[in-house]
Amino acid sequence: MPSVRLVNVSKRYGEITAVEHADLQIEDKEYVCIIGPSGCGKTTLIKCIAGIIEPSEGEVYINNKLMKNVPIQDRGVGYVFQEIALFPHMNVYENVSYGPIVKGWDVSRIRSLVEEMLNMMALRERIYDRPDVLSEGAKQKASIARALVSGSLLLLLDEPLGSLDAKVRTMLRHELKRMVKDLNLTAIHVTHDQEEAMAIADKIVVMNAGRIVEIGTPLELYLRPKRLFTMNFVGEANFIVSEIVKRMNHRTKVRKNAAVFYSSERVDFEEKKVVAAIRPEFVLMKKPIEGKMSWSGRIETMVFMGSTVRYEVRTEDGELIVVKRPFVSGAYEWNVGSHINLEFPPESVLLYPYPEAGLEKEISIE
């Protein structure tokens, strides 16, 4: 039985549409991440599920029960707020035990439950501290603990790692996923950080301007995204406006000015004008005499990024292609100013029909 089902959910505020025609199904015990730029409607969407906001149209089902006129407190959904929202006048223990207490659970049972959870989160020694003396990381953990202990089987998390340093985020996100899985919960985790989503999600929902753009596994969305927006949002990508020269059974021949390359995709749309996309880490750089393509260029910039090096290559006809190569310890493979030949492995070239509204608008994340 799907844990959550949204059917044609829309939310409007006067003239502004926050969410439009959202259809979504989340299975039991799935860990789903919803990603998208600020203002895309992801927070509004989960607030509709929690009952904090009423949709203007459409239905929300939790465990196949229609949530109409069901107030927040009766939905059984745990929520972790972006602003953390720990009760300032209560200490950690009182915050975390709040859920069970207001539900009228047995007092002794509450005590052991809360202590166990705080042990799991390494917060045991902060148990009687008030939120104002806790570090950001501790506050975040306490807020998650509070939602987990409340007994809900469905957890909604709004930027649960939002206020933490980059380094701490990468450390904490795995702990979060592990705990959710250990407790057999279903989780819907909203974030603007696509790397975070890819690292822990079973399934990712990409949203933009109030609409669900695409849904898929991290691998699918990174390697074979169906939409241009997803391609740009989920990682860096090169977009080359080109035209289809020849359609074949197992591949398609594409041309950009003098450069000719192949994609192993079989296109089924009619248009000739096409956007070819390839991720920077799949572009190969060869010495000028080698290479199966004849798209030559010059390395304009080079940035050392630790385990990778990021190159910007200016092709002979003026295109800028971004290339990322692993850094093999020792020396740099290339230098700024080097002349190289670019090579695109066909299985890494994705083709999309040229969007009506123009490429910039389609992929814009601002």
Partner: protein, 370 residues
Amino acid sequence: MPLVRLVNVTKRFNGITAIRNLDLEIGDGEYLCVLGPTGSGKTTLLRLITGVIKPDEGEIYFDGKLVNGVPPQERNTAYVPQDYALFPHLTVMGNVSFGPASRELSKEEAYGISTRMLEMTKLAWRAASFPNELSGGMQQRLALARGLASGASLLLLDEPLGALDARLRVELRYKLKGLVKEKGFTAIHVTHDQEEAMVVGDRIAVLRHGQIQQASIPFTIYNEPGSIFVANFVGGANFLEGFIVERSQHGSWVQLRNGFTIRIIETGYSTGERVVLAIREETTRIVKNPRTKEKINFFVGTVESASFLGNCTEYTILLENGDTVKSKVPISLRTRGISIGDRVYVHLQPENIRTYLYPATGLYKELEAV
């Protein structure tokens, strides 16, 4: 001559020492990144340079001149605080022209400079809007334009990309650096994001608990981290504890947990000394069937989990001796057929291992990233 020089600067707040005996030099036209966790003193450092707070000890020099007693309005810095602090009651033009107006330029001059700045940051078309009507990215550019219009060529940026989405951050950091370099400004850019620091900084100064741990070009910080903290904070690594059991002129042997021994190239440590070994995840190789006859530094383990990170997959392997290591395998070299539960060999090449003395405060504290 360095544009800015801090000599033995200390700053305390209510008994807590925020900055401690800090020495730092920033060259003219340099883009310096100060990298450190929240609470390390980054904002305090910037505020000391702007003159908004004064050091308790030590001196600050601009272009060789002592500025300790000089008030902020005479230091000519362009300060962009973390939340931008845009003036909500003034338009975009009003915000940008505030600096020139305060320095008593004529109306024409002030307008001219402001317009140029707005064109440079692509905000000229919103000159009559108010800050709360702009998007996050535009607000950031406005804060920048405002700082630059005041005529300063020293930019002090406090987490300039912090308020933006992850994806937007990646896009805008290149533009930010490009703009600064194009105009020949000097910038001190403070951040907690090490990837950002590596990309934009000409040099990185790693700050922790008010002290600079290491200040160097990104390449050196990454490949020759001076401490466990820096190795972990910048780039992350696998850390293994052990102690030296044998030394020779070509290298040493370290005994890890439960009998595993590993070879390193260091020769400077004495036998019996407790050490910590650091190996980057991307140089931690996974091999299914090692073909080479030499079995140095090959360890057996089981794959516990796999995390797809986009441009690489991160595998967590539980070694037979109880240690856990992570390996990042780039997507382009995606090793086929490694699944969770597989028995694999982890190869840690000696030349990729950095050795550190076991820290007095314990390893856990050094890895806390705080």
